[in-house]
């Protein structure tokens, strides 16, 4: 599909919403007007609709009745052995409201054992949030990612493409800055101010890559 720069060109989101009837009246009218002026793209959109119809006409084959019954039985079995209302209370309320024989000692033993295992796993592994100081693992480069859309509120947070800055960026030199007062930051750290007057062009205020290099304990 060609990318039109006209202000009335519907976005892919609007076109999808138009297909699904999710646009309001004004938006639908605007899309219809645009489609009337772009018949080749209107045909493409109609083909999208055909794909959806074809998809709806061919749902996956349903499992047999035996498969469904077996699945429900497995779900019940698993819920009975776990800490759920079906398991903890040790019985289910039948249609005649008569409780089945209790097997609570088995359920409580299993629950206690599970609790001990969970506690051991928690102690043995750091919390997911204790990541300070850990090396980050690059999982994708900018070439691996295809950005389809960005929500309006997220646009300002999104960095697209390769990191343009490969070394610390000098924001101001000694020549540019007059130091009047220095206060510690919220962590009690005093910033290091370069005062070497012999080199007036040396950077005084530097933005390091990746944020603060000194983190609070």
């Amino acid at each position: 599909m060609k990318r039109h720069r006209a202000c009335n060109t519907p976005t892919p989101s609007e076109l999808a919403a138009y297909l699904d009837g999710e646009n309001n009246g004004e938006e639908s009218a605007r899309v219809e007007e645009w489609l009337a002026q772009n018949p080749e793209l209107a045909a493409e959109l109609e083909a999208h609709e055909e794909v959806s119809r074809l998809y709806q006409s061919a749902p996956p084959p349903e499992p047999s009745a035996e498969a469904w019954d077996g699945l429900l039985a497995r779900i019940e079995t698993e819920l009975t052995t776990r800490s759920t209302p079906l398991g903890v209370f040790g019985h289910a309320v039948d249609r005649d409201d008569s409780p089945r024989p209790r097997r609570s000692w088995l359920a409580w033993t299993a629950a206690v054992a599970a609790g001990i295992l969970i506690a051991l796993a928690y102690v043995g592994n750091p919390r997911p949030r204790d990541l300070a100081g850990r090396d980050s693992l690059p999982v994708a480069s900018d070439d691996d990612v295809n950005i389809l859309s960005v929500h309006g509120q997220d646009i300002a947070m999104l960095v697209v493409g390769a990191v343009p800055l490969q070394e610390p960026l000098a924001l101001a030199t000694a020549h540019d800055v007059t130091v009047e007062n220095v206060q510690p930051d919220s962590d009690g750290m005093m910033p290091q101010i370069g005062t070497n007057s012999a080199d007036a062009s040396s950077p005084m205020i530097v933005a390091p890559i990746g944020g603060n290099s000194e983190k609070a304990p």
Binding site: P12, S13, A16, E50, A67, R74, L79, H151
Partner: protein
């Protein structure tokens, strides 16, 4: 003589069934299962490509959803909550078991009959349902996982944009654009098969 039958009792709400389940009633579990098993299975099947794996994912999904009801904050419907858990269970299962669907699709492609563009005019002409399903499964497998899941939640589970956004934790705008590009890719794949 006219035979009168008692009207069927109104279906209980999901909240009522969950309350009964929490009280230990097995019948509530059966009703919830009956109510959502088909939708949950379709979602899982579209993600995994075969019945056995899909049934396992549905089992995992129901068990996880019902053992973690404290995580269900009632901000969305139980259906949305359940499908989120089922789709995540299916994705986890898919990662654990590898891309088995690719092997299946490679075998399916060898015996696939040509697809004709006339199908676009009437999906019921020419192509039998099984071939349609096979073609669509192949096309779906070519979508990026996020697009596939978005498209399938909207088309199979018949969730609204808002519900899909809730299940996937994304914005409605992202849902809409993913749907557009998913349909575009599916359309291109099907058209390409027609040319072969």
């Amino acid at each position: 003589m006219a035979v009168l039958t008692a009207p069927a009792p109104p279906a209980q709400s999901d909240e009522h069934l969950l309350a009964r389940f929490t009280a230990g009633e097995r019948e509530a579990l059966e009703e919830l299962f009956q109510r959502y098993r088909v939708t949950a299975f379709r979602v899982a099947f579209r993600l995994l490509g075969q019945e056995a794996d899909a049934l396992d994912a549905v089992q995992d999904g129901f068990v996880k959803a019902l053992t973690h009801l404290q995580g269900f904050r009632r901000q969305s419907s139980f259906k949305t909550w359940l499908l989120r858990v089922v789709s995540n269970a299916a994705l986890d299962l898919g990662r654990k078991r590898g891309r088995r669907e690719l092997l299946r699709l490679q075998g399916a492609s060898a015996g696939f009959r040509p697809f004709h563009a006339s199908t676009f005019q009437d999906p019921t002409l020419g192509l039998e349902r099984e071939d349609s399903r096979q073609l669509l499964d192949e096309a779906l497998a070519t979508l990026p996982p996020a697009q596939r899941q978005t498209f399938m939640l909207h088309s199979d589970a018949e969730l609204s944009y808002r519900e899909v956004a809730s299940v996937m934790g994304i914005s409605i705008g992202t849902v809409m654009s993913r749907l557009f590009y998913a349909r575009q890719k599916l359309r291109a794949y099907i058209a390409n098969r027609d040319r072969q």
